[in-house]
């Protein structure tokens, strides 16, 4: 459970806040999609949740509170999985196989060897990396590297899993594998999913936080966002939604079947 109260942050020597007055409450097993155009403050917000701003950007000014599990104590790095935007920088650089790369963080946290082996197998199969097990991480393609970066963080079984634009280097198959994995993972982890891919976000997340210029424009379900008066022109919406909006539908649906039925009805009445 995460409760955020009036959280704001400004980098040192910056004129405006990177994000401001963000308040939300997230239950365990929920996924929050953080959406918005570039420079909206999404990554900085993720850094704040992971405790990086407090530790590495001390010149900046952070106000407000983040409460985890009703305690004023952030989870440790072993309990947080953080997938950064550039997956190639996330690889340790000191391992020589995909298997060792997944094991790297488990080794650092002293996870017993038998559990470590179980988790490696689990991640290799979940992210379809079994065939790449003995490949050098540097020889992987962009999409495979991204999957490996996610797998290495997922192997920690984090309580809070933050993913910063994880689908940007992935093809459609990989995106499907990732979403399937996260749907299962959110039963035991709280997921913060920062994305430009609205289709994946709406499919996975119970709630979305829409940021623009660092300001909280909307917090609620994806369905409520699409049916509100909020201007979402800065977002690249799925075609399914674009079609409904351009046809002037009042009640936008995220469900494919329902939309097709509505379109059929429209055609009949026309």
């Amino acid at each position: 459970m995460i409760t955020i109260k009036d959280l704001s942050f400004r980098y040192k020597q910056e004129a405006r806040n990177s994000f401001e007055h963000i308040s939300l409450h997230l239950q365990d097993g929920q996924a929050l999609g953080v959406i918005g155009p570039s420079q909206a403050g999404k990554t900085t917000f993720a850094y704040a949740l992971a405790g990086l701003l407090q530790k590495h950007f001390r010149g900046g000014s952070l106000t407000g509170t983040v409460i985890f599990d009703a305690q004023d104590q952030a989870p440790g790095t072993s309990e947080i999985g953080f997938v950064f935007q550039d997956a190639s920088l996330q690889l340790s650089g000191v391992t020589e196989t995909v298997e060792e790369e997944i094991a790297f963080s488990l080794e650092q946290f002293g996870v017993p060897r038998d559990i470590m082996r179980e988790r490696i197998e689990e991640q290799l199969s979940t992210f379809h990396l079994i065939g790449l097990r003995y490949r050098h991480p540097k020889t992987l393609s962009g999409g495979e590297t991204q999957m490996l970066a996610i797998a290495s963080e997922a192997a920690k079984h984090p309580r809070l899993f933050i993913l910063d634009e994880p689908t940007q280097a992935l093809d459609a198959d990989h995106v499907r594998h990732l979403i399937d994995f996260l749907r299962v993972a959110k039963r035991s982890s709280t997921i913060i999913f920062i994305e430009q891919n609205m289709s994946a976000t709406f499919e996975l997340c119970n709630h979305v936080l829409f940021l623009e210029n660092g300001r909280q424009q909307f917090l609620g379900t994806p369905h409520d966002l699409l049916n509100s008066n909020i201007d979402v022109s800065s977002l690249t919406l799925p075609e399914l939604i674009d079609v409904q909006r351009s046809l002037g539908r009042n009640h936008i649906s995220l469900l494919f079947k329902e939309t097709i039925e509505w379109m059929k009805k429209c055609r009949t009445s026309a």
């Binding site: 992971a50 990086l52 950064f84 470590m116």
Partner: protein
């Protein structure tokens, strides 16, 4: 002999020839060179080892011999310089070509030094590769923007310097991102590390280390006692 050697054995091997080079008598040094040459013939990458010895080590050794034996200097002086050079450099070539980075990395884990230090050591090799990739990307990018690489060598060198600044800035920025990522990988975790794979000292390694260290010690002592 294609045996996986522990890095400590490799280090003792280098140390042993270092001691022969500095404390050994000329005959001992000649025996040392013979041992080295036979070791070079028994490693996995023996062709590469011989190529390096023939192209770099022997010519420089011969040059040292000729220069130091010239102008009436005793023949033994030139020989001593040449032998020392061969004894100091050849073991490094044999160790580098005889082992693999994986063995070295795995072996380092068993050496009681902080894990941060050995990651730093291995990572420093990695970062060179990363910098080269970044430079390549910047170089191609600048060429597309009109940078002319097909000029004279002097101009080429002069024009390379402005490219170094973006490379350094990108490297620093990547370094910061990497440090954040490493934090989540538990690099600062106080927990006792448990490794998936380790390379332990085999009985062969232990015996070799003991023999090499005792021989080195014996040579040092003998060099002081014997006339």
């Amino acid at each position: 002999m294609h045996r996986t050697l522990h890095p400590l054995t490799s280090l003792c091997f280098i140390l042993f020839f270092f001691v022969i080079a500095l404390f050994g008598a000329p005959t001992t040094q000649m025996v040392g060179v013979m041992i080295l040459l036979s070791a070079a013939s028994s490693i996995r990458k023996r062709k590469q080892a011989w190529k390096k010895i023939a192209l770099y080590i022997l010519p420089i050794g011969i040059l040292l011999f000729l220069v130091n034996s010239a102008f009436g200097a005793p023949f033994s002086r030139g020989l001593a310089y040449a032998l020392r050079f061969v004894l100091l450099i050849t073991p490094l070539v044999i160790v580098l070509l005889g082992g693999s980075p994986t063995d070295f990395r795995l072996g380092l884990r068993t050496v009681p030094i902080p894990s941060r230090l050995h990651y730093l050591f291995i990572f420093s090799f990695e970062i060179i590769q990363s910098l080269r990739d970044v430079f390549q990307a910047v170089y191609i990018g600048q060429q597309l923007r009109g940078y002319n690489a097909n000029r004279s060598l002097g101009n080429k060198w002069k024009n390379i310097f402005p490219l170094l600044l973006p490379v350094m800035l990108i490297a620093i920025s990547q370094g910061l991102d990497r440090s954040l990522a490493f934090e989540f990988k538990g690099i600062e975790s106080p927990a006792e590390k448990i490794y998936l794979r380790t390379l332990t000292l085999s009985p062969f390694d232990k015996l070799s280390i003991a023999i090499l260290l005792l021989s080195s010690l014996g040579l040092i002592v003998a060099s002081f006692i014997l006339p």
